[in-house]
């Protein structure tokens, strides 16, 4: 009801303005004034507003800085973050100078040189010296910005050292999974065709390939028997036949993968990448040690996501079909953040998804715990005790069930994800 009232008031307000303008128009016509003749009073009013506006504009800016300045991200919790924060502040100083200077000139001139019948505008069509000045000065300033910026960029994006802590972040609609290389320090191979309920990352080991092939065999047999024995509409049957065809082709590819794997193991023995996956730690808990260089490998199962850790000033897309990497050195533990920086016992670093990815994009998050090196070692030892991948038993639709209607299955899935949040 109140909303309706507001609406009515607003509509009436607009009508009133329109009628007022109409009255002005009619009286102006009576006085023989033409619409295009801007009266001295109108010019003065707009000139005054041109001077008033920057006051309001800068005032609003200052209010935002005062009221919300401390609600921005707290100090960077990573080495490169401290660097980029400095760079950002450096840029702000330059930009603020340019911002105030140009706005003041713009609005000051606009208000000052208001029309007068007794005056003529200056004849000043060009001045090459001036043009040169305001080409060269911005160029010089930008050169400084570019040099500082690229210097920082090169430091951030350079290769990680070989003994950096290795961790993989794996994205899918709508959650994150972390993987650590385990005892051997080597991340095992992975293949998306091996993904199933117990192997959410598709890690390739002789056992997981064997298990997946058996599963595929069973699925294909199941589909065959359904096709042979069940009565169903032609459309459904055609759909199922298609799926069966696809499954057979994928099965052939996994068989091929097995051959490649066996060959590799035969040639390289223990060094084969396929023998390094079994001890990998797959977990929903994401821990990092403080003051150690970390190299993150980022992958996606389905569509593009983006790893965004605002407090660490880190961001990188997760792209299906490729592995992207970033490196960083966390400098503040979660505990120190809680007790010394944000003064909030519930604070957690958090990984957000920052690339539009569907219905629950806005809640695709994973907390990150930064601990001291000792705590990290203890946590890692505990993780190693857990059985292979058990900690990541995901609550999800079992892989490769035959969806009755594959397009309908997902929105329902997505909806469910929304509700659980």
């Amino acid at each position: 009801m109140t909303k309706l009232l507001i609406l009515i008031v607003v509509v009436l307000g607009i009508l009133a303005i329109a009628q007022l303008a109409r009255v002005y128009e009619l009286t102006a016509r009576l006085r023989g004034k033409r619409e295009e003749d801007i009266s001295a009073a109108d010019n003065r009013m707009n000139a005054m507003l041109m001077w008033l506006f920057p006051v309001v504009y800068f005032g609003f800016f200052i209010w935002l800085v005062v009221a919300y300045g401390d609600k921005m991200l707290p100090l960077a919790a990573s080495e490169h973050g401290a660097e980029t924060d400095w760079l950002l502040n450096f840029n702000w100083v330059i930009l603020l100078i340019a911002f105030v200077l140009t706005n003041v000139l713009l609005f000051y001139f606009a208000g000052k040189y208001v029309f007068s019948k007794d005056r003529r505008a200056a004849w000043y069509p060009h001045n090459n010296k001036l043009e040169l000045i305001w080409t060269v000065i911005p160029a010089g300033v930008l050169a400084v910005i570019v040099i500082y910026g690229l210097n920082t960029w090169n430091n951030i994006t350079g290769p990680a050292s070989p003994n950096a802590v290795l961790v993989e972040l794996y994205a899918k609609q709508f959650d994150w999974t972390a993987r650590y290389p385990g005892q051997d320090g080597v991340m095992g191979a992975s293949d998306f065709r091996l993904i199933n309920g117990t192997n959410p990352l598709g890690i390739v080991t002789p056992e997981s390939v064997k298990e997946r092939l058996a599963e595929m065999e069973a699925e294909i047999a199941e589909m065959d028997s359904v096709l042979a024995h069940s009565v169903m509409p032609d459309e459904k049957a055609a759909e199922l036949r298609d799926l069966l065809e696809r499954s057979r082709r994928q099965q052939a590819r996994v068989v091929n993968l097995r051959t490649v794997m066996e060959q590799d193991i035969k040639e390289k023995g223990e060094a084969s990448i396929y023998l390094h996956g079994a001890d990998d730690i797959v977990t929903k808990e994401f821990h990092l040690p403080v003051h150690k260089e970390v190299k993150m490998l980022i992958r996606s199962r389905d569509i593009i996501h983006s790893v965004y850790i605002p407090h660490l000033r880190a961001q990188m897309n997760a792209v299906p079909g490729m592995t992207t990497t970033i490196k960083m050195v966390p400098t503040i533990t979660t505990d120190s953040m809680r007790t010394a920086v944000v003064m909030d016992d519930t604070f957690d670093f958090v990984v957000l998804c920052n690339k539009i990815c569907g219905a629950s994009h806005y809640n695709m998050q994973m907390p990150l715990t930064v601990t001291t090196a000792d705590e990290y070692t203890a946590w890692m030892a505990e993780q190693m005790k857990k059985p292979f991948q058990a900690s990541a038993a995901p609550a999800e639709v079992p892989a490769n069930t035959v969806p009755a209607d594959s397009t309908a299955a997902v929105p329902a899935n997505a909806q469910a994800a929304v509700k659980t949040n």
């Binding site: 303008a21 800016f61 980029t84 713009l106 920082t152």
Partner: protein, 597 residues
């Protein structure tokens, strides 16, 4: 019927050749550039309202997440807004279609379509476009594409929802989001037609400017509007085909099982067969159009502003040649900066550095333009028409948005603000607001030329000041929301305690957005009311120098009743010393021993 204008002939077509036309050939399938320009404008106004209402719906959700609104329910019904609460998938759809409509249908089709059609023949002194028929086709492709885009709102699964940039695999897989079903197919079909429209139009604009300038209209005597529209058309011709190819490859990935953009995907419980493609390839192709597109949107607005500022400051535009030079520089550089949208896609960091360098280069011609506008105002004799107000407003938004662009172009700084509200603030101010201000300025300025009537000035003032304040009220706080780390395209921020400090800014933003939208009601009323009931315009209401003001108020085929005008000077002889008036039309011959400028 209406196609019989002798375009290339300087004297054949005069008013007494005028023949009666049927309603259809005059108002619907018109070949006349002035009518086509009005068709573009009115279509764009309708599309803009659709996009504005969408933005209000998602602004309500962002300010008061999870609350029901009768407004939302009225437009979306129970399927997409049960109880008035916006559905998360529909939120993404609205964000996507709002962006698509605003960028392509309003600020590309609407802005270029309206003013290139209206101004190019009139300001270069031509009877009509090089090809009236192609010009008509260009509008009807645009119209058809608008209809298809609107139709996509009604299909099952909703319209395209992958963001206006439609990055695959999200846009390729209906399993990932319902909007990537029929909605996305229609989006792609609509855009294909839109690109065709834009290419046909662009070729026509370029041909007209190069070939149909009247006697004496040297390239260095062209108004800056024409220079801007010329380079805009060239950018469109060179970049839109790339988007077309990207869209066609995406269509094939979607419906024919190819894998240009898809690889190693496991979704909805099934491993897809596509391997070997790269989603990043799409981004390269998309932004190869996408970045020039920013300037396709912006340059016409800057050209319009140059013209209006000079006219209403009663002063020659400062640095005419520098202005042309900066348009050319911006046009060229816009093709080698697209990678700055992709700093965090895993693109080679060295390549990133190259894009940092080229992107920051573009700030130089932009700065030159701003300083030249300011110097034009300096010691001018400024008349505050609504068009002038919007032009000054454009300079202000161009400054505010341009400066934050420097942060985003700096790859090291982009890492932490990429895809946050900081970006939303940046491009809405620099591209959205600047371009729409240029469009408003153009409408107020050339309304007398389009309709032979005057718009109401007082309503224009109300429209400008409310819009101007609201533009900053809406987009300025978004910088702060972004610096707090809040990502864009989030349905709600309530899942993250870290944003609790800034979410109340969203309420402020939404309130400003509602007021700003209401101000557009004033404009729409003024526009349509003045069209029929406004006071009659005189031939040259703003005492302007350019050729369009030498044509009669009543539109005629071929624009000038007699022979085409002959041009003797540049268009910016305002307040020239030794002249009685403070303006000198381009058709006034140079006096003996008068310097051109």
């Amino acid at each position: 019927m209406g196609a019989t204008i002798a375009h290339t002939d300087g004297h054949a077509h005069t008013a007494h050749h005028h023949h009666e036309e049927s309603f259809v050939s005059k108002y619907i399938f018109s070949h006349d550039h002035k009518m086509i320009s009005k068709q573009f404008l009115i279509t764009a106004i309708v599309m803009a309202w659709v996009a504005v209402i969408m933005s209000l719906i998602f602004r309500l959700q962002l300010a008061w997440p999870g609350e029901g609104f009768a407004f939302t329910n009225f437009f979306l019904g129970d399927k997409w807004a049960p109880g008035g609460v916006l559905d998360p998938n529909m939120y993404l759809a609205l964000v996507t279609i709002h962006g698509t409509i605003m960028v392509f249908f309003v600020l590309t089709g609407g802005l270029s379509g309206t003013f290139a059609n209206l101004l190019i023949p009139l300001q270069v002194g031509a009877r009509d476009m090089a090809s009236g028929f192609l010009n008509m086709l260009s509008y009807w492709f645009f119209f058809l594409s608008s209809i298809i885009m609107l139709a996509s709102l009604f299909v099952e699964g909703g319209p395209a929802s992958a963001g206006w940039t439609i990055y695959p695999p999200l846009s390729a897989l209906p399993q990932a989001i319902p909007g990537s079903g029929a909605g996305m197919t229609l989006w792609l079909v609509s855009m294909t037609l839109f690109i065709a429209s834009s290419l046909i139009g662009g070729l026509n604009y370029v041909a007209t400017i190069l070939n149909l300038r009247t006697k004496g209209m040297k390239m260095t005597r062209l108004p800056l509007t024409i220079w801007a529209l010329f380079i805009t058309a060239v950018l469109g011709i060179l970049s839109f085909p790339v988007l077309l190819s990207a869209a066609l490859l995406l269509l094939m990935d979607r419906s024919m099982g190819t894998s240009f953009y898809l690889s190693d995907i496991h979704i909805a419980g099934e491993a897809l067969e596509q391997t070997g493609g790269s989603p990043v390839l799409f981004q390269h192709l998309f932004w190869f159009l996408g970045h020039p597109e920013v300037y396709i949107v912006l340059l016409p607005a800057l050209g319009i502003t140059s013209e209006i500022i000079a006219t209403n400051a009663r002063k020659a535009i400062f640095g005419y040649r520098a202005m042309i030079g900066s348009i050319l520089a911006i046009g060229f550089l816009s093709f080698i900066v697209w990678g700055h949208h992709m700093f965090v896609t895993g693109m080679n960091p060295f390549l990133g550095s190259v894009f940092v360098f080229t992107t920051l280069l573009i700030a130089i011609p932009s700065a030159v333009k701003v300083f030249n506008y300011i110097t034009t105002l300096w010691r001018g004799n400024i008349i505050f028409t609504p068009a002038m107000l919007f032009s000054i407003g454009l300079v202000a938004t161009f400054i505010a948005g341009g400066l934050t662009g420097i942060i985003l172009a700096d790859s090291a700084l982009d890492i932490n603000v990429h895809d946050t509200y900081f970006v939303v603030a940046h491009f809405h101010i620099v591209m959205g607001m600047s371009a729409i201000f240029g469009m408003f300025a153009g409408i107020y300025h050339w309304f007398p030329k389009m309709y032979g009537k005057m718009m109401n000035t007082k309503l224009g003032y109300a429209h400008f000041w409310i819009t101007f304040v609201c533009a900053f009220g809406v987009f300025f706080p978004m910088h702060f929301i972004g610096l707090a780390g809040a990502p864009r395209r989030y349905y709600s921020y309530s899942e993250f305690p870290m944003f609790n400090g800034v979410v109340d800014l969203n309420v402020l933003v939404t309130v400003f957005a509602i007021i700003g939208a209401l101000a557009q009601v004033i404009f729409t009323y003024n526009f349509f009311y003045s069209m029929s009931r406004g006071p009659k315009a005189v031939q040259n209401p703003w005492k302007s120098n350019t050729l369009e003001w030498t044509t009669p108020v009543e539109h005629i085929h071929g624009n000038w009743p007699g022979p085409l005008p002959v041009v003797h000077r540049w268009p910016y002889d305002y307040s020239k010393p030794g002249k009685a008036e403070d303006w000198v039309s381009q058709i006034t011959p140079l006096e003996h021993d008068e310097e051109e400028h």
